[in-house]
């Protein structure tokens, strides 16, 4: 029943004039922790160089869906995927068991809920993704580290102390360091899992500005429990509830004219 509803909702495609390119297409995706089904027949398209937000109450599966995109669930025993997440332009099903999760994570990077810099220098934090790929050339590393730190609006603050430990930075700076680490590898999609939930309002604002500025050059998928944040940063929003995708569309339409009762109940604070 739920799956049918999700399917009918999707017949109304988001406004595709501004973002015609589909970066990824989720097709009938089911996900299981052991025997319990956490995602139920998710179907959606992720648009290239746009910010797509996943919202919904706790336990609705929004983080679970996000973590399918970089196969993070493969680290947890006894989980499995059904269905497809196709990544374009080469049309690979990234949740297929034949695709190595390492390959997926080389193309899709992630920023976590709590800033998690390595207890290494600022430079090494950003360079790590390049080092694991076998890049040794110092000039190339230097250039890409600087570019990533600039991309994360952190360069000016840390350029004179790249050798200091990343863990010595403030919470907001640590999160921007993690964003730089995620950008350094030139990812096709960057996943954000409630990136500001551990930060104060000022640091939150700077991260949001950063995400908005990233759209246009990189595809962003962000999970947030904060509806205002979704409204501020995203172009498309998906509302999830109990493992189902209830409604998906352009953010301004979803927030002003929700088509589903449950979406409007959630947006007006009646539950969640």
């Amino acid at each position: 029943m739920g799956a049918q509803r999700a399917a009918t909702v999707l017949e109304v495609k988001p406004n595709r004039e501004h973002h015609p390119a589909v970066k990824s297409r989720v097709k009938d995706l089911n996900f299981y922790y052991g025997k319990s089904q956490a995602l139920k027949r998710i179907n959606m398209e992720i648009y290239e160089h746009a910010v797509t937000a996943l919202i919904g109450p706790s336990g609705c599966g929004k983080s679970t869906l996000l973590r399918c995109f970089n196969r993070m669930h493969d680290l947890t025993p006894d989980t499995h995927y059904e269905g497809e997440i196709r990544l374009y332009p080469d049309d690979v099903n990234i949740v297929s068991s034949e695709v190595d999760p390492i390959e997926v994570r080389m193309r899709i990077s992630m920023v976590f809920q709590k800033p998690n810099p390595f207890p290494k220098s600022i430079y090494e934090n950003v360079a790590y993704g390049l080092r694991v790929r076998g890049i040794r050339n110092r000039t190339e590393l230097d250039g890409r580290v600087e570019a990533a730190l600039r991309g994360a609006a952190l360069w000016e603050e840390v350029k004179d102390r790249l050798d200091e430990p990343g863990t010595a930075l403030s919470g907001g700076q640590q999160q921007r360091l993690c964003i730089a680490r995620a950008l350094a590898t030139d990812p096709e999609i960057v996943l954000f899992d409630e990136p500001t939930s551990a930060l104060d309002p000022i640091a939150t604002a700077s991260i949001e500005d950063l995400i908005i500025s990233m759209a246009g050059s990189v595809t962003v998928l962000i999970v947030t429990h904060n509806m205002q944040q979704a409204a501020r940063v995203s172009t498309y929003t998906a509302f999830m509830y109990l493992g189902e995708l209830i409604e998906y569309g352009p953010t301004n339409e979803l927030f002003t004219r929700p088509r589903q009762q449950r979406t409007s109940d959630y947006l007006t604070g009646r539950f969640g």
Binding site: N70, M72, L75, P77, I102, R105, M106, S109, M110, F112, K114, N116, P117, F118, P119, Y128, G129, R131, V132, R133, P165, T167, C178, R181, A182, A184, T185
Partner: protein, 318 residues
């Protein structure tokens, strides 16, 4: 107890204060009682240790001359020394560390980072934990059968090193696993998320961040091995050795020699045991002096372990 209504009445206030104070005083008494009991319990251990060590020093300090360290054992107590014993201890410890540490650390990391969570792993884990509690003499018996006879290593430094390695491996495995488990999951996720393989995550993150804990376990294991006597007597350590094993380094090519591995040996605690079992206070003084050396060695090793943990941990904070 007083009710809120009474508390609000002005005339009842002094009485209320008094009641509260009695109540606090009554509960505080038990604080004091436990503090005294705890202090007594702690002092039993500390005082006994200090008394033993002071007694050892009083008995043996006059024997701690340079000659004592550079003489072979002798029938005359005054000429006897611990040269062959400390050289033996060093060589046996070297073999123990070279064989035991890499095996145990790898096993610990494998169990924590790589092994699938199933009944096989659970069984191995239970066994390893139990092995840490097996009496050392049992290791001696196993080694006598396996290394000395079956594998034909004889009553050699190699056999002794392998025996002690076997004995301390469970300790190091357990310490390694605890250290590895202490690395936050978020750090592993961060590394996996940029495309690292399991080995890269282990080599670049898990291992470096857990080195303080692993090093502590290694040193504590080695400190325990230094004092072991029973398993080495079981595999046939000699108690009277008036020669040194072949030198591991030579002046002629290939410059390194492994003949010492096959040499007979003695170690400090065995030398000490031998002197204790002899009649005559002069030999007992020798035993006490050897005891001081062993205690100081373990003390230094444990102190170094604590220092290392402190030094390395300070650089890591998540």
């Amino acid at each position: 107890m007083t009710s809120v209504a009474q508390r609000l009445a002005l005339e009842a206030l002094p009485q209320y204060t008094a009641e509260v104070r009695t109540n606090v005083a009554r509960r505080r008494r038990w604080d004091l009682v436990f503090a005294v009991v705890g202090l007594l319990a702690t002092s039993v251990g500390v005082v006994t240790l200090v008394a033993l060590f002071v007694d050892l020093i009083l008995d043996g300090y006059h024997r701690l001359t340079p000659d004592f360290f550079f003489s072979f054992p002798s029938r005359r107590a005054a000429e006897a020394g611990i040269l062959s014993a400390w050289v033996g201890t060093c060589l046996v410890m070297f073999v123990t560390a070279v064989i035991g540490v890499p095996l145990a650390v790898s096993a610990g990391i494998y169990l924590e980072e790589y092994a699938p969570r199933n009944w096989m792993t659970a069984l191995i884990e239970i066994n390893v934990s139990n092995l840490a509690a097996v009496p050392s003499i049992v290791y001696g018996l196993l080694a006598l059968g396996l290394f000395v006879y079956t594998l034909g290593f004889g009553q050699s430094i190699l056999s002794a090193g392998l025996t002690l390695a076997m004995m301390i491996m469970p300790i190091i495995v357990v310490a390694t696993r605890e250290a590895v488990r202490a690395v936050p999951h978020s750090i592993r996720e961060a590394a996996y998320a940029v495309g690292a393989t399991r080995w890269q995550v282990t080599r670049d993150h898990v291992l470096p961040y857990s080195i303080p804990g692993i090093a502590t376990g290694v040193i504590i294991g080695l400190a325990r091995a230094i004092g072991e006597t029973a398993p080495l007597i079981t595999i046939g350590a000699l108690t009277f050795i008036a020669y040194l094993p072949d030198s591991p380094i030579s002046t002629t090519p290939p410059f390194v020699s492994f003949d010492w591995l096959w040499s007979g040996f003695t170690v400090l605690p065995i030398q000490m045991f031998n002197w204790v079992s002899r009649p005559g206070t002069a030999f007992h003084a020798n035993a006490a002096a050897a005891g001081i050396v062993i205690v100081l060695l373990t003390l230094v090793m444990n102190g170094f372990a604590i220092y290392l943990r402190y030094r390395l941990r300070r650089r890591i904070n998540w």
